[in-house]
Amino acid sequence: MKIYLKIWRQDSPATPGAMKNYELDDVSQDMSFLEMMDLLNESLIQKSQRVVEFDHDCREGICGQCGMMINGRAHGPLTHTTTCQLHMRSFKDGDTIYIEPFRAAAFPIVRDLKVDRKAFDNIIQAGGFISASTGQTPEANGILISHAIAEAAFDAAACIGCGACVATCKNSSADLFTSAKITQLALLPQGKVERTERVIAMVDQMDAEGFGHCTNTEACEVECPQEISVLHIARMNYEYNKALIISH
């Protein structure tokens, strides 16, 4: 296939970026999207040009490091699919593809398509954990957890932290990411002890990082590679309001 590319190039956070045009002649349907990017970079090296920088690692949809806006959609045209799991069979000969970084005030651009998602780490650091130090833990079957609760907790815990929810949101809200962790830990008996402090700390940190507020557009759920449900946002709001009443 012949593919035309328009890619965001930006040297550093301090310098302005722009869309640049590229063409590739020998793109195979079986290539993954990132393998197409490898092909492009190989051709740039041959032309003595700087390669397009993009984040990626596991290339099997689980590490959460890859992510691009492809034709205006986070992770591209397929729903619930990371950029690395997208294949060129989703495009056709002669297509023009627009590739941009995940954009959000809280995700500053590092270079080209690489962005800094440290804000997510900061939210987890604020309270996205159960305070169980090594060694002080009881026998695993000492506290029973029903099948339904374990499965529901897993559904929330499956988040890969890629940031597609933020990138796709018109408000750049991190509510889906934050609420998934809050739900997982609030559902489990081990996490209930700290639920009040946790939800307040995490929501406050989310605001401090510069993410916007949720206005219930629900676009995040559509793009989320792990199909994290927006119902977690409702639960987070419930937990937050309850915590405010308890803590004041």
Partner: protein, 636 residues
């Protein structure tokens, strides 16, 4: 002489004996001691978090943009623990003997026993952290079976067990970051180890955003930087996985062991073309319900569903009736290769076998299979556009896990005092072949339960030692050497990319030092890799600058892989026997099984770097078996 420092006493008492006699550091003194941990996978994150909880100052490094990305995240199937929740005859000793046998009697008894002994505590730890393991309807933890064993001891969180365990460790780590006991350095790559008066005292790193070369001093350095299976280019590993941290430590004096013991995972997606960058793993747990087969007839072009039952060869069930589709990985991979080489391979490149769920779906219903494996079936569909509920998956063996790594003693300390290696970065527990679901376990046990005893045991002796600062000449020299190498890569200005060399090296290793090896294939590979390495230093081309530059990162990793590739071949060449994943075609039984030679090769190889232009020196650590008898490993 190599001293493995195995504690005195009976096998079951050794770890308790060690813990009871280990040196402690007064809580008030802990904050005076700095520890560097390289890598934030399950081993690194758990170690950094646990040491932070104890009160040490920890610096945690990873090359990814967040500690949560490390490749432990991709482990799918599960983690083993001898809880005996199923009442099916499991015990610490059973798990120990399964693992020793699974490793084809090429691992240390004391280490393996400790692994089994600590396994139950890991499940307790993970559950307390909020890891949502699968549960039975009564609320108790569920298990499944994995290859190479006859009990159900594998705990799992759907097909994302590694992710969930890693997030547990990552969250524990972030908690310590918040408590100011751990400082994280993301997008940082370790490029050298600093050794002063024979002891590890720090590292040199490159900030992958600014390009700055930094010096970091500490009282001890822990390498938990993972395995080097990506040396084959096409592998199940993440693109950034590398050997650089351990290889550069190796060049500073740490010995490398079992270097050629590489596991080829039997259930990966086959290569479909030259453009391919990785081979995706499909969890081994699929073999609980999937049946592996190829057409009986060679070069059969029919669609799988058109091939009648009597014309299918369920070769694992045929050759290994006791274990069937759950035969260990090395055996399953080799059996697949045998059929593919015989012309019975399927798929576009005739390099695959079928994994068929039709019988399980008929017996258990589609819903049950969906509940167990839905994410894997979905992943398969995304990559191949094939519905595996309707027709069999195509799978093929791929480079996966490195049993080899830095030589460590019982304390997980390398031959450089103060330098520890944890998880896949060391060679310690898996022998010549790793059993499924033991990898997450080993990484976690090393980080949560062993390093928090053994690292302080070393640090206790460092309290009165002279405090080293980064002004020391050794830091200056190491930084200079790192800068020089980076400049060298940029200056070559040839015409071939780092990926070109990496892919070429991978092909040479798959052919010469892959699923099976011969004296001739290994000798040939050494010659070809040497030529490739020479070409690398004259024809490499790196574009871009000193700051964010993924090509410059790759160049350093490929340079180390080229050195490592040669040592892998030399290691395989020196071992004139077949054991576990190391299959020398010259040494096999009449029915094609591995032929071990315990008389001459019952040892661990430990290779010493002697300089860029000199041969490695081989040291041997003899393996002593007092609690199991060396039997022929049979899964028939």
């Amino acid at each position: 002489m190599l001293d493995s420092k195995i504690p005195e006493g009976k096998l079951a008492d050794k770890w308790d004996n060690y813990k009871e006699h280990v040196k402690l550091v007064n809580p008030a003194n802990r904050k005076k001691l700095d520890v560097i941990v390289v890598g934030t996978g399950l081993a690194g994150a758990s170690c950094a978090a646990s040491l932070g909880e104890l009160g040490y100052n920890v610096k945690s490094f990873c090359f990814q943009d967040s500690p949560r990305r490390a490749h432990s995240v991709a482990a799918q199937g599960g983690v083993n623990a001898a809880k005996n929740y199923k009442n099916d005859g499991d015990s610490v000793f059973r798990m120990f003997s399964d693992t020793i046998k699974g490793g084809d009697f090429r691992s240390r008894e004391a280490n393996v026993y400790r692994l089994a002994e600590c396994s139950a505590s890991l499940i307790d730890q993970a559950v307390a952290q909020g890891v949502p393991f699968a549960r039975e309807y009564g609320g108790y933890l569920n298990n499944r079976s994995f290859g190479g064993v006859q009990v159900s001891r594998t705990f799992y969180a759907r097909g994302q067990t590694g992710q969930q365990l890693l997030l547990g460790a990552y969250q524990a780590l972030m908690r310590q970051v918040g408590a100011n006991k751990v400082k994280t350095y993301t997008r940082h790559e370790m490029l050298d180890l600093v050794v002063i008066n024979g002891k590890a005292k720090g590292i040199i790193t490159r900030d992958l955003v600014t390009g700055e070369i930094e010096r970091h001093a500490a009282n001890a350095v822990v390498l938990a930087s993972g395995g080097y299976g990506k040396v084959y280019y096409l592998s199940t590993l993440a693109m950034g996985c590398n050997t650089s941290a351990i290889w550069r430590a190796h060049k500073k004096g740490a010995y490398m062991s079992g270097v050629s013991w590489i596991q080829f995972h039997p259930t990966c997606l086959p290569q479909s073309g030259e453009h391919q960058s990785k081979l995706t793993l499909m969890s081994e747990s699929l073999r609980n319900d999937g049946r592996i087969w190829v057409p009986k007839k060679a070069h059969d072009e029919r669609k799988p569903n058109d091939i009648p039952e009597e014309e299918r060869d369920y070769y694992l069930e045929r050759r290994y009736p006791t274990f069937g589709n759950l035969a260990p990985r090395d055996i399953s991979s080799r059996a697949a290769k045998e059929r593919i080489d015989a012309g019975c391979g399927v798929g576009v490149m005739k390099n695959a076998v079928f994994l068929d769920f039709s019988k399980a779906i008929k017996e258990q219903g589609k819903e049950k299979i969906k509940e167990k494996y839905s994410n894997l079936f979905k992943m398969y569909d995304k990559i191949n556009a094939v519905n595996a509920y309707e027709e069999p998956m195509l799978i093929s063996p791929a480079a996966h896990f490195t049993m080899g790594g830095l030589w460590v003693d019982y304390e997980l300390m390398t031959t450089i005092p103060g330098l520890f290696a944890l998880g896949e970065a060391n060679f310690a527990d898996h022998g010549a072949n790793r059993l499924g679901a033991n990898s997450l376990l080993q990484a976690s046990v090393d980080g949560y339960f062993i390093a928090p005893y053994s690292v302080p045991n070393y640090l206790a002796g460092e309290l009165k030692a002279e405090k080293i600062t980064t002004d020391h000449l050794a830091f200056v020299e190491a930084e200079h050497a790192v800068k020089q190498q980076l400049q060298q890569f940029l200056d070559i200005n040839g015409h071939l990319s780092a990926d070109h060399f990496h892919k070429t090296l991978g092909k040479l290793l798959y052919n010469g030092c892959g699923l099976s090896r011969t004296k001739a294939s290994l000798e040939n590979a050494i010659v070809l890799i040497r030529e490739l390495r020479a070409q690398f230093y004259t024809e490499l081309k790196i574009t871009g600058d000193h700051t964010v530059n993924s090509e410059l990162e790759k160049a350093g990793r490929v340079a180390d892989y080229l050195d490592l590739g040669i040592l892998m071949c030399e290691d395989a060449l020196s071992r004139e026997e077949s054991c576990g994943a190391h299959f020398r075609e010259e040494y096999q039984t009449p029915d094609g099984e591995a032929l071990r030679n315990d008389k001459d090769y019952c040892y661990v190889s430990a290779w010493e770097w002697k300089g860029a232009n000199a041969e490695h020196e081989l040291h041997k650590e003899p393996l002593v078996f007092e609690n199991v008898s060396l039997t022929v490993r049979s899964y028939k």
